[in-house]
Every structure is written in C-alpha cells, then in structure tokens.
C-alpha cells in the first residue's frame, strides 16, 4: 500500500491520554459517528438492539422446536408430571426482582452514585445467581428422576430451551461482574456507561424471554 497510508496508521507516538475522556464526548468530527447525525451512544445502543433482535430469533427457533416436540414424550413423563410451579414461581420472582435492581443500578451509574450502583448490582447478581441455582437444582432433580434430556424429544427440547436461557443469564452474570470491576477501575466513563446501558438492555430482554418461557412452557405444560 502507499506510504501515506502506512504512516497514517501509526501517528508518531501514542495519542496523549487526554483524548481518552474526550473521545466519546463532543469531538467536532467523529470518525464513525457523523457530526450531524447519531451520537455514539445512539449508534451503540441501536446496534445492541439489533443484536437483541437476533437473539430473540434464536430463542424463537428453540421455542418452535419445543412447540413441535412438546407432545413427543415417547412414553415418558409429560410436563404436568414434572413441573413444580411453586419452584418456578420463586425462580420467576428472583429474575423479575433482579431486573428492578438492574434498573436501579443503571440510574445509580448515570447519577455517578457509587453506593446505589454497587449495591443494586450486587443485589442483581445475588438474585440472578439464585435464579440459575434454582434452575440447576430443577435440572438435577429431573435427571435424577430419569427425566433427563435423553429420555424423550419433549425433554430434549425442554432442556435446550430452558438451558439456552439459563446460559444467557450465566453469561449476563459474568458480564455484570465485569461491569462492576470496570466502573471500579475506570470510573463512570462515557464508554463504560454505554456498556452499562447495553448490559441493562440485555438483562431486561432475558426477563421478557423468561416471561414467555414461564407462560408457554410451565403454565401451559401444567395445564395440559
């Protein structure tokens, strides 16, 4: 490539540290965010929404397979024989409450209010971890009773659908801890606040998916 290009990619020395905070503020001409148009915050959140849509489609595929296979119990137990609505209600309460605290944490971060942010994030984590714990316990009980995913196509689809959501929550917990560490280490920087925004969007989406799961899998499964 031309020499001009080569030199451009390596401006002499590292940019001074001062740019770090400025990069996301109101630079006159941003490289990706166009001056007249969307701010970086909008672009990032917009892109993350697109990702969430794709994630919801992923769940839709697992929902569809569950709908197809939910009656294929192969002589094994069906939903009404297995599901314990009380436990699942507790699980649901954990997750929905955690979303409230996730929202509070977002407010705390935006207000740069340390105690509110860390406190709310910690509660979110505990509730999220409790959710995953109850779910793992439910899985273990089912497998112990001989109703593991290998038993029938219905149970395969069930474990995959619920497990996919559980994996998302687990990934969310990992992300949550990373976010807390980032705010602790770097402070309330614009780029980190944008990540916090994406994290809460993610956490809320998992809630919405769970509401569908709870209704369509557990409630319908028990009623059938």
């Amino acid at each position: 490539m031309t020499t001009t290009d080569a030199t451009l990619a390596h401006p002499a020395g590292r940019p001074h540290e001062g740019t770090a905070t400025r990069t996301h503020a109101h630079a006159t001409e941003r490289s990706s965010g166009v001056p007249h148009g969307a701010s970086t915050r909008i672009v990032v959140a917009y892109g993350f929404w697109i990702f969430l849509i794709s994630d919801i489609i992923l769940f839709a595929a697992f929902f569809a397979s569950y709908a197809v296979l939910s009656d294929n119990t192969a002589g094994g137990p069906a939903g009404r024989d297995l599901f314990e609505v009380n436990t699942v209600a507790l699980e649901t309460a954990c997750l929905l409450t955690s979303t409230l605290f996730c929202g509070l944490a977002g407010i705390g971060a935006n207000a740069r209010h340390g105690r509110l942010f860390y406190g709310a994030m910690a509660v979110t984590f505990v509730l999220g971890a409790a959710f995953v714990g109850i779910e793992l316990h439910e899985f273990a009980t089912l497998i112990e009773r001989g109703a593991g995913p290998q038993r029938s196509a219905f149970l395969s689809a069930f474990f995959a659908l619920i497990g996919c959501h559980g994996l998302h929550v687990t990934a969310g917990l990992l992300w949550l801890l990373t976010m807390m560490a980032q705010i602790y280490a770097k402070g309330y920087r614009d780029d980190i606040l944008r990540r916090m925004l994406c994290f809460s969007l993610f956490w809320h989406t998992l809630d919405i998916v769970w509401v569908a799961l709870f209704s369509l899998v557990y409630l319908v499964g028990v009623a059938k």
Partner: protein, 671 residues
C-alpha cells in the same frame, strides 16, 4: 488427555488430500518465511492483521474468498473428473472420499467463498458510498472477519486431521446423527459453521447499524446508492436468519454430543424439523448472497451506461420485497416431505411470486442500458452474462416451483444445474464484476482489460458447457451425488460437463495471470484521479486508494448519484478551487482483539471436535480474557492533525486538476 485425537486421525492411506494439503502448507509456510525474512512482519501485523479499517478488512475478506475459491473449485474438478471416468468403474475416488468432496465443495463455496466475497465488497464499498469514515463498530468488524477465517481454517484442517462430513453441504439427519456418522466429519462441519456463523452475525449487525445510523450529511435513504440498499436488505436477512442456523446446528450438536433427541429416529425426534429449520435459514441465505450482487450489477450497469439507474425507487421496493418474501418460501426445498397439496401449492405460488420483483430488476437494468452510451469494459460484460444466464436459471426455478414437476425432478442433476445456474451467474459473476470494478479504488491501479475479458469468455462458455448438460442428465434420470453409474447414454454429457470445467479452469488461470500482470504493470494501469470509470457515487470522489480517513471533509449530499452531481456542478460553474476548512480527525485505533480471539476460537473449535475438554475450557478463558483486555483499553482513537489531512487532500486535488492519466480518459465516451 487428547480426547479422540490420535495418529490414526491422519489419513495416511489417502495420498490425494495429503499431497494437496502438503502443497498448501508448503505455500503458506513459504509466504510466512518470506514475510518474516524480508522484515514485513510489522507491516503485515499493524496494517492488516490487527487493522480495524473497513477497507483493509474488506480486502482480507476477498482474499480469503479467492483462496477458498481455489479449494472449492479443485473439489469441483475432482467430482467432474470422477463422473467422467466412473461408468461401470470405481473411478479414482472411493465412495467415502467422494462424499466428503461434494460436501466440502458446497460448504466451501457457500460459506467461505460467496459469503466472504460479498461481505468483503460490502465492507469495502458501503462506508465510502455513504460518505463516512468508518463503519459503526470497527473492532467488532475485525472480530467478525477473523471468526469467518477460523471457520475456513477448521474446514481445511479436516483435510489432514480426521475427515470432513459425508452428508452433503447441509447435514440432513438422521444421516448426520451419531448413529450413522460416528466420525468427526460432521463435527468439523458443525463447529466450523457455528464459529463462522457468529462472525457473519457480527458483520451483519455492524453493516445494518452502519447503513441505518452512520451516513454523510444529506445522505437520506432515497439518495443512497443501490448497493447500499441491497447491503441493508442482505444484512437485515443475516440478522434475521443466521440465529436460526445457529439454533439448528446447536440442536444437532446436542443430539451428537449429549444424546438429545431433536432429530433422531427414536424417542420422538423429528428429522423433518431439521429440514424446516435449516431451510428457514437456507432460503434467506440465497438472497443474502444474491442481493449484494444485484447491487453490484446496478452500480456497474448505471456507471458504464452513463445513465442514472432506471426506476431507482421500484428497485428499492423490489429489493425490500425480496427481503420479506425470501422468508416465505422455505418449504419448496422439500415439497416431497408430504405436507399435502394445499401447503405445497401455497409455497409453490409464493416461490413464483418472488420471480416478480426479480423480473422488475431485470427490466430496470435493461432500461438503464437502453439509450445509454455503454462502455463494454469487463465489469459490464459480467453483468450482461449474468442477466442472460440468470434468466435461464430463473425459469428452471419457476419450473421447479411447480410441486408435481418437483416430485419428478427433485434430487436430480436438474436441480444441481438449476442452483448452479443461479449462484454462479448471480453471485459469482456479481463478485467478479465488483472485484474488477472496485479494484482500482482499493489498490490505485486497474486490472488488465484483455486478460479480464479472456477470463470472462472462458468462464461464461465453460459455465454453459459444464451445467447445461446437467439439465439434460437430470431429465434423463441421473440423480445427484453419484460416485459411479451404469448408464452409457449419460457418459457423453458428463464428458462435455468435464470439458466445461476444464474451460473454467483456464478462466481461473487467466484471472490469476490478470492479477500478476496487473501488479507488474501497475504504473501503466495507474489510476491518477480516483475516478477511473467516470463513476456516479461518492467512493469515486476519494483518491485511489483512499486515505485512512476516506474523506478529508465529509461530503454534503444533495441528491441521488451524489458524485455525478458534484462533477456536473463543478463543470458548469467552472469554479476556482474553494479553500476547505480542514479539521483534526479521530480514527479508531487498531486492535488485535479479532485476531487473538480467532486464535482461541480455532483452538476451542478443534478441541470440541476432538473432545479435548480441558483445552476447550482453556481456550474459552483465553477468549474471555481477550475481551476483558479490550474492554480495559483507555484510548480508543488516535488523532490525525488537520495539517496532515490538508496535505493529503491537497495532493489529491492537484493530481485531479492536472487531469490524471490519459488511459483512464480513453475509457470514457468523448464528452
């Protein structure tokens, strides 16, 4: 310790793949040694491997596609040669190897040739056409590319370590279940596609956000070049369809690894659900590939006809209509499932309806050319060959959309002829047209015209020779994927098809020669002005190759064909040069995140295929750590001072003012 991996994994008894991969390994090793010895390693690392510049990433996508095209094509040569000799004879490929060859051919060509070629063109061109300096998420873009490369690498590793799937390019169960495919072949396929599928999804999110949120001032939706519209449509389809692929392949993986029963014969599994799910992704995938190509043809035909695109708004409408309709026809891939006459009729009609917006496009291109002063350069030749050939493929497609006809023709060579008749002229010719058209933009010199035209004729005639006989063979009853056969009346047609492939091979050799000759004569083919074809959209207003920041000052767009109007106005007003207010530009810093992440993804994929669980865990931790390190970065951008921007821009303006080189002028019609 090493799971299922052992020395027996290397196919010592099969000299062909071993020799082939030894050659590839030697070539790669030689390139690596050359880079290191010559001291190019820092340049390669900083300017390419860790670059987050959309132009560099676009070029790397296309290089990957071209390399994989050679691999996929050599598979095609093997198949045609085998069928040419295998009349009442075993031929030279044993059945289990033949099955791997046709599976690898399809997988390679769709996922690692067509996809990266199109994504590469979109990456390179779209920000330039939109008049902006970068994509929405530069580092994510780099991660997406490297994950795609990981997938390609895993498929190629399967050549030497283990085996590849023998199930066809879509691993239909129950054949692909553990019971019938106990080896690692299907696992290679699944993990390679899962990893590269994530890469494609990231690229799709990035490009959708770019087109919708990052545009130059005044670049309203209905002022965007057609290629940006087709990019938007194609990437919307990626975002909507690829998660279905990920979910479907995950289900098959659960079946194979943990004994689930999604698609198995027993315990209530439903294998037809796989066909439904995979084609709910697979049919949109066809349009993910072809829509960007439609965009390329629109740009090329309009530029070389020196006319605005005819029926721009109807073209936009047709594109978005195809985008939606593509999700409503998946069942035509398996009419024989037994869904009943009503369901089949609905999907048959929906399939025929798709031909309407496509027909609108064909007529628009024809009317664009009508009355234009057409310059028959190589890119428009590819476009013309596309239009004529694609119409033939489209008609056989409408024929196959009639369920009773499909019952007779399904799984025959007629089908094979049909989809090659769509994908080769549609996607591949589109890719070649785009490659020739934007090459001078990317590298600052044009490709050799004579060799390009020679390669073009070899490809087109070779295509007809290779695939028209397959229509006849399908009607004569020859099914697809036959390792040998006993009907002597098929033989002559298979020989003609083999001849066609030989001609295509000459075409590919000429393309390689074209690249080499063009590089050697780059001074003579130099593009001074940045506008070698008298183009209409904003990418031609930048120097060739464009500076890192694309535009010194962001353009102000006032209508369609933005650059054409800028040129017109400049000519009319004969204005003296305006002094421009240059400012500092911030550009994203390079990041090795993509490359390192892909390294861990490769290790993780390989470990998963061979059940080396500790290595899976280690690679996952590595990948996560890479992201955390990236997240901890303090400085995201570097600054290019206004004075530097001004120097680069003035130099380009001076060159344009001095008139450029006479050759590029000669290509234009006299004003």
């Amino acid at each position: 310790m090493w799971g299922r991996l052992g020395w027996q994994a290397i196919p010592w008894e099969q000299p062909l793949p071993l020799a082939a991969s030894a050659v590839v390994a030697l070539a790669l090793g030689a390139v690596l040694v050359w880079v290191v010895v010559k001291g190019h390693l820092p340049y390669v690392w900083h300017e390419w491997l860790s670059s987050v510049d959309h132009k560099r990433i676009g070029v790397m996508y296309i290089v990957l596609a071209l390399l994989m095209l050679l691999r996929g094509f050599s598979d095609a040569v093997l198949m045609r040669a085998q069928q040419a000799v295998a009349l009442n004879a075993p031929g030279f490929l044993p059945p289990e190897h033949f099955n791997q060859v046709f599976s690898a051919h399809g997988t390679m060509m769709i996922f690692f040739v067509a996809m990266p070629f199109m994504i590469g063109l979109m990456n390179y061109v779209v920000p330039l056409q939109l008049g902006v300096r970068d994509v929405a998420f530069p580092t994510l873009n780099s991660v997406g590319f490297w994950l795609t490369a990981t997938g390609a690498l895993l498929v190629n590793i399967s050549l030497v370590v283990g085996e590849f799937a023998r199930t066809g390019w879509l691993p239909y169960p129950p054949l692909s279940e553990l019971t019938y495919s106990p080896g690692v072949g299907v696992d290679y396929y699944l993990w390679a596609l899962q990893i590269s599928g994530v890469g494609t999804l990231l690229s799709g999110i990035n490009l959708v956000t770019t087109v919708l949120k990052v545009r130059a001032p005044g670049m309203q939706y209905l002022r965007m070049p057609m290629f940006c519209w087709t990019t938007l449509a194609s990437n919307l389809l990626i975002v909507a369809a690829f998660p279905i692929l990920t979910a479907t392949l995950a289900m098959l993986l659960l079946d194979r690894y943990l004994g689930f029963h999604f698609f198995t014969n027993e315990a209530g599994g439903n294998m037809m659900m796989f066909m439904n799910l995979i084609w709910a992704w697979g049919h949109p995938e066809v349009y993910i590939l072809i829509l960007p190509a439609f965009g390329v043809f629109s740009e090329v035909i309009s530029t070389f006809s020196h006319k605005p695109l005819f029926g721009y708004r109807s073209m936009v409408l047709a594109t978005m209509a195809i985008c939606i309709l593509s999700f409503m026809v998946w069942l035509h891939h398996f009419f024989t499932m037994g869904a009943g006459a009503d369901v089949n009729a609905i999907f048959g009609i929906a399939t025929m309806v798709i031909a309407v917006p496509t027909g609108v496009k064909i007529f628009n291109w024809l009317f664009t050319m009508y009355g234009g002063r057409i310059v028959f350069a190589t890119p428009i030749l590819w476009s013309l060959a596309f239009m004529t050939t694609f119409v033939v493929g489209g008609m056989t497609g409408v024929l196959l959309a009639v369920p009773p006809a499909d019952f007779v023709l399904h799984n025959s060579l007629f089908l094979v002829a049909h989809f090659h008749n769509m994908v080769i002229p549609g996607v591949l010719f589109g890719a070649f047209a785009g490659y020739t058209y934007w090459f001078p933009k990317a590298f600052g010199f044009r490709l050799h015209e004579g060799l390009g035209k020679a390669a073009f004729w070899c490809w087109v005639i070779g295509f007809y020779l290779a695939f028209m006989p397959l229509y006849g063979l399908g009607l004569m009853g020859m099914t697809r994927r036959m390792q040998h056969y006993d009907d002597p009346t098929w033989r002559p047609w298979l020989l003609v098809a083999a001849g066609g492939v030989a001609l295509i091979a000459v075409g590919i050799a000429l393309q390689v020669a074209q690249l080499v000759v063009s590089i050697r004569h780059r001074q003579a083919l130099h593009d001074e002005t940045g506008d070698p074809w008298n183009g209409r959209s904003l990418e031609w207003s930048t120097p060739s190759p464009p500076p890192l920041f694309n535009f010194a000052v962001l353009p102000d767009v006032e209508g369609e064909d933005a650059y054409w109007h800028i040129k017109q106005r400049a000519r009319e007003q004969n204005q003296p040069r305006k002094e421009v207010d240059y400012r500092d530009i911030h550009m994203p810093r390079n990041s090795a995140t993509g490359f390192i992440c892909a390294f861990f993804a490769t290790v993780m994929g390989f470990a998963l295929i061979w059940h080396i669980w500790w290595l899976v865990a280690a690679a996952f931790v590595g990948a996560f750590a890479t992201f955390v390190v990236f997240a901890w970065r303090d400085v995201h951008e570097h600054l290019i001072p206004a004075a530097r921007v001004a120097d680069i821009d003035r130099e380009h303006r001076d060159r344009v003012a001095s008139g450029g080189n006479p050759r590029s002028v000669a290509l234009r019609p006299s004003a």
